[in-house]
Symmetry: C2
Subunit: 261 residues, 2 copies
DNA sequence: CGTGCTGTTGAGGACGATCAATGACGGTGG
DNA sequence: CCACCGTCATTGATCGTCCTCAACAGCACG
C-alpha cells in the first residue's frame, strides 16, 4: 500500500551505497541508516515515467538499475535531455529542495529500470539527524551542475562530431565508474540528438563518421565504442569534470599520450 | 596581509544576508555567525579575476557588489560564460566541495565589484556547527543547476532572437530580485555572445532587432530594456526556474496575459 | 502482418559563422 | 591637450554547418 515496500534484497542497494561512498559519505552507520529508508520498486519499463509528478506523496527517487534521463519537452514538442542517469544517481533532488522548480522536467526510463524511493518526510528526519548526509547530497548536486556546465560548453562551442563524441565519452566513463564495462552505450541516436541539440538525421551522419574514424564499431543499430582512446581524442575529452576517483586513471594516461602525438 | 581584512561595514553584507534568507536559512543566529567570518575586499576592477586560483589559502568567495561571470576559456580561445553573478551570489562553491573540478573555470568581474571571502577552514567549522547552513548552500547549488539547465535548453533549442531575449530576461529578473530596478543590463554584447553561444556580430544584429521590436530601448551602446513584457513575450520567458519569491509575481501575470493574446 | 520506432540516405535551404572594415568611446601617456 | 590604443559596436559580403523535408529499410511489437 505504501508503494510496494519490500525488504531490501541483497545487492539491490549496492549501486546506492557505491554512490554515497563516492560522495564521501564516510560514516558506515549513516549509510546503513539511509538505506533502511529506501523502498524498492522493480521493473520500470522503457519509456515509463520514473518520477511521479502528480502523486501527493512526495518522495526522492534514486535509480538502482537501468538507464534513465532527465529531460524537458518544449512548446514545439522538441525535447532537451539534460542528463542521463545511471544506477546510484538521484533522479529528482531538485524536487526536494526547490519544489517550485522545473515543473515540466521529467525523468524517463530508457531501459528497464528499478528504482528506490525515500519519502521526503523521512529525508527531513534523516538530514536533521545525520548532517553529513546533507553534504553528500550537496556534492551530488554539484556534480550534476558540473555535468551540465560541460554539456553547455559542448553544445555551445563545439561542432557536431566532437559534441556527439563527448556525450558518448561521458556515458562510457560514467558506466565504467559503476563497474559496467560494456562498450555498448545503451542509448539511441534519438537520445543522442535530444541530448546534444542536434537533429536525428545529423546525428546519424556523425555516428557513421565516428564509425569510419574507428571510434565506434561498425555494428549498426547500436552505439558500440570501438576505441575509447580514439573517441576521447576526437572529443577532446577531459573527464575531470566528472570528479571521478582513480579507478579510471588509465583514461588520463590515454589522453596525455594522445596529446603528445 | 591576510587579504585586507576589514571590520564589516554597515550594509556591506546586506546582499549576502538577503541571499541566505532567500535560501531559507531561517535562523537569524546562524546567519549572524556566518557573517562574522566574512572578510571584505573592496574595489575589484572590471576584467579582474575574482577567484584567486593559485593562492594556497583556500576560501569561498561571495560577490557583495557589482556583476561578475563564471566562465571558461577553450582551446581555440573562445569563451563560454556559464552564469552571471550578482550581489549575494557565491562564486566558487564548487571549489569547496569538489576541488578537483573545473580547474580552468574562472570568475571575472564585469563591473567594479566588491567581494567577501570565507576561509574553507572556517567553513568546515561553520558547517559542522550549523547544519542548516549546509542546506542553504545546497539550495544555492541547486539553483545554479537550474539556471544552467535553462541556459542549456535555450542554447540547444532556440533561435538566436529568443535566446538573447531569454538571457536578458534572466538578468533583469535576477537584478530585480535583489532590488536593483534599473532597466539597464550591465553587460556587453560580447558577454551576451559568450553566454549565448553566438558570434558577436550576430548578437549585434539580434540586439538591433530587439530594439526595432520595442523590447530594448533605441539607445545604443547599452542594453536597456524598453518593455519587460515585450521582451518576456519574445523570449517565451517563464521565470519559475529562478525559484524566486513573490516579489516578482507581476511578471507571471504579464506572461499569462500575453499568452492569452 | 500491420504499426511504430529506430536507423539510413538524398536534396535543398536557412541560420548563423567568419572575414573584413569602420566608427565611437574611454583611458593612457606623452 | 592631443595622439594613441584597445574595446565595443556596427555594417556588408560570403560561406558552411546543420536543419528540414521526404522517403524507405530493418526490426520489434502486438
Amino acid at each position: 500500500m505504501v508503494g510496494m515496500m519490500k525488504p531490501p534484497e541483497a545487492g539491490a542497494l549496492d549501486a546506492l551505497a557505491l554512490k554515497f561512498r563516492s560522495l564521501e559519505l564516510d560514516s558506515e552507520a549513516d549509510l546503513q541508516t539511509v538505506l533502511r529508508f529506501v523502498k524498492i520498486r522493480e521493473a520500470v519499463s522503457p519509456g515509463e515515467n520514473i518520477v511521479d509528478t502528480r502523486s501527493p506523496r512526495r518522495q526522492l527517487t534514486v535509480l538502482l538499475a537501468g538507464v534513465a534521463c532527465l529531460h524537458k519537452k518544449l512548446e514545439d514538442d522538441s525535447r532537451q535531455i539534460y542528463t542521463f542517469q545511471y544506477p546510484g544517481d538521484f533522479c529528482d533532488l531538485h524536487r526536494y529542495m526547490l519544489p517550485e522548480l522545473d515543473q515540466k522536467a521529467t525523468v524517463t526510463a530508457l531501459t528497464a529500470c528499478s528504482i528506490g524511493t525515500i519519502r521526503h518526510d523521512d529525508l527531513d528526519q534523516l538530514l536533521s539527524q545525520h548532517p553529513k548526509l546533507g553534504l553528500a547530497f550537496w556534492r551530488a548536486s554539484m556534480l550534476e551542475a558540473s555535468i551540465l556546465r560541460e554539456r553547455l560548453l559542448n553544445i555551445s562551442r563545439r561542432a557536431a562530431l566532437p559534441r556527439v563524441a563527448s556525450i558518448i565519452c561521458e556515458q562510457l566513463a560514467r558506466l565504467e565508474a559503476i563497474n559496467i564495462k560494456s562498450a555498448v552505450i545503451p542509448i539511441t541516436q534519438v537520445d543522442l540528438a535530444d541530448a546534444g541539440g542536434l537533429s536525428v538525421v545529423h546525428v546519424n551522419r556523425i555516428v557513421q563518421d565516428l564509425r569510419k574514424l574507428g571510434a565506434l564499431s561498425k555494428k549498426t543499430r547500436t552505439i558500440e565504442v570501438a576505441s575509447k582512446e580514439r573517441l576521447a581524442q576526437l572529443a577532446n575529452f577531459d573527464r575531470r569534470y566528472l570528479n571521478m576517483p582513480d579507478l579510471l586513471s588509465d583514461w588520463k594516461i590515454d589522453i596525455e599520450e594522445l596529446a603528445d602525438s
